[in-house]
Symmetry: C2
Subunit: 306 residues, 2 copies
């Protein structure tokens, strides 16, 4: 079957890796959030795409949850010694990715072409597509003022209180080549267990993508990011509280209302009443966990089609 | 005394380090070749300035003769794995210098301001001045066509046969702030034992610098790059042969005719007849060697003044 996933970073990458190990899946496409992309030290950095690329090629650092396995940090040490900005960690090997991508983009190649070439170089069978080749930047309105995503997420460690989120440039952005087609052709569409407000909403903000979810004949299933009423990682529930939203699956399903045909959620949490739901243990620690969650999503999709 | 040195990379840096250890020197200025500067992987790289900065701050890698002590190479390994250009080695720590400099230049700072800040960050007392803040690029006409310096020197390991050398942009370049003043104010001016054609000529090609050598009241002493009729490192004698020049001190003194008042050369080589000369063992392996050569130059300068 053909499967397309809307994905943010770490949680999304784990789920896509699970799908990559399911025999049922012949064709796998990840449409990845680029609202977190930013320029730093002159380099174009695409954190969620990188997380997908590292995870799907078996190079992800499982312990720290981001970056490369076996990474060294001499660049950061030298940068710090020179008084350079050290709030965003760049591993020595990771830098090669950023430097090459930046150079190719400056030569006029699109982010999607560069991403496809990186995926090919690392032998990744899945299609990893940026949501858009146009610049879309996630900004948070907070009690410390308007902050670009990385300033909020990394530099300030999600401490500011958020009142609103916007996606600068989204209105004029076009879906990257292949994005709408992969949604139209899919046998199943999944929304990965990424942060709905920070990681999935930027994807849905690109004109045409939400419509493609409404129009596809495939079932669209969101995997809830909540496990036992909390997010595994990141500021999801803190953010939900600040936005006045209950941290439950009703709210997750409500957020995706009109777009999804089902919600796969953790067994420890109550299902939403508004949306067809199934549950499994959604915490993805081992590869077996990831494959189990991926397979539960596939089985649910097949049930909704029948 | 106030000492100003025209310098290329490794050999020049060793000589300047020797001067830095001479008590007689109160004020030390190095005017450094930037004809080797190039953009690589989107970064502004200034190899000779970097060699000065690393050497004068005690961070130079003595074994390999370039780059930083204790360097790691994970960036290069990752770059190579992605099919990136691997002919120019960039250490993980070294990258911090290139990334920060590139960013600051793109923000509108001049190379001389950025260089001064780097020198300050590393506690270097000497003034390290680029010869110019304008772009001057050394090109070689060879049997493999016209080659920019790094393609000739690093990528092709000096193998092509050179017929001519030119310094693109030199005609319109201005000396960097402080360059002419330091030559006018100096009590002694030295031309370091760098390659006269590839490392010193670009400096002399910047309008105003050769005139400042002719006009300064200070003695101007060149230190010959020949040791036992050969260059310690690099293509000096190969290049001299290709240009139809004898590899002797007469040729070195002749090359600087009208600019220098004396030549300090290695004890193993014959002195030039055309120019006042002194000799010492000029091979600079240990710090003691470097200080001895520096002191011999100072003593010679004082003798010429008397």
């Amino acid at each position: 079957m053909k499967v397309t996933v809307l994905s943010g970073g770490v949680g999304g990458a784990k789920f896509v890796l699970g799908l990559q190990h399911c025999e049922e899946v012949d064709q796998l496409t990840a449409i990845v959030n680029t609202g977190d992309d930013f320029r730093h030290l002159g380099m174009h950095i695409s954190p969620d795409i990188d997380t997908l690329l590292y995870t799907l090629s078996g190079q992800a650092n499982a312990t720290q949850g981001w970056g490369r396995e076996g990474e060294s940090w001499n660049f950061m040490a030298a940068l710090k010694a020179l008084g350079g900005p050290d709030w965003f960690n760049l591993g020595d090997g990771d830098l090669a990715l950023h430097v090459l991508r930046t150079q190719r983009i400056e030569q006029g190649h699109s982010l999607s072409v560069v991403t496809a070439d990186l995926a090919k170089a690392w032998g990744i069978g899945a299609s990893v597509l940026p949501m858009s080749d146009d610049t879309v930047a996630t900004w948070l309105e907070t009690d410390e003022g308007a902050l670009p995503f990385q300033s909020y997420f990394v530099e300030r460690q999600c401490r500011p209180i958020t009142s609103a989120i916007r996606f600068e440039g989204a209105v004029d952005a076009r879906p990257a080549p292949g994005v709408l087609q992969s949604l139209a052709d899919a046998d199943a569409v999944f929304i990965a267990p990424s942060n709905p407000w920070l990681s999935v909403d930027p994807v849905l903000a690109v004109p045409g993508i939400a419509d493609a979810l409404r129009e596809t004949s495939a079932p669209v299933i969101a995997i809830s990011p909540l496990v036992g009423g909390k997010a595994v990682k990141g500021p999801t529930t803190k953010l939900m509280a600040e936005l006045g939203i209950n941290a439950d699956n009703e709210a997750i399903a409500g957020h995706y209302a009109g777009l999804i045909s089902g919600l796969l959620h953790d067994s420890a949490d109550a299902p939403p009443l508004s949306t067809p739901a199934r549950s499994t243990a959604t915490l993805m620690t081992s590869l077996d966990d990831k494959v189990r969650v991926a397979r539960a999503a596939i089985v649910f999709a097949e049930a909704l089609k029948a």
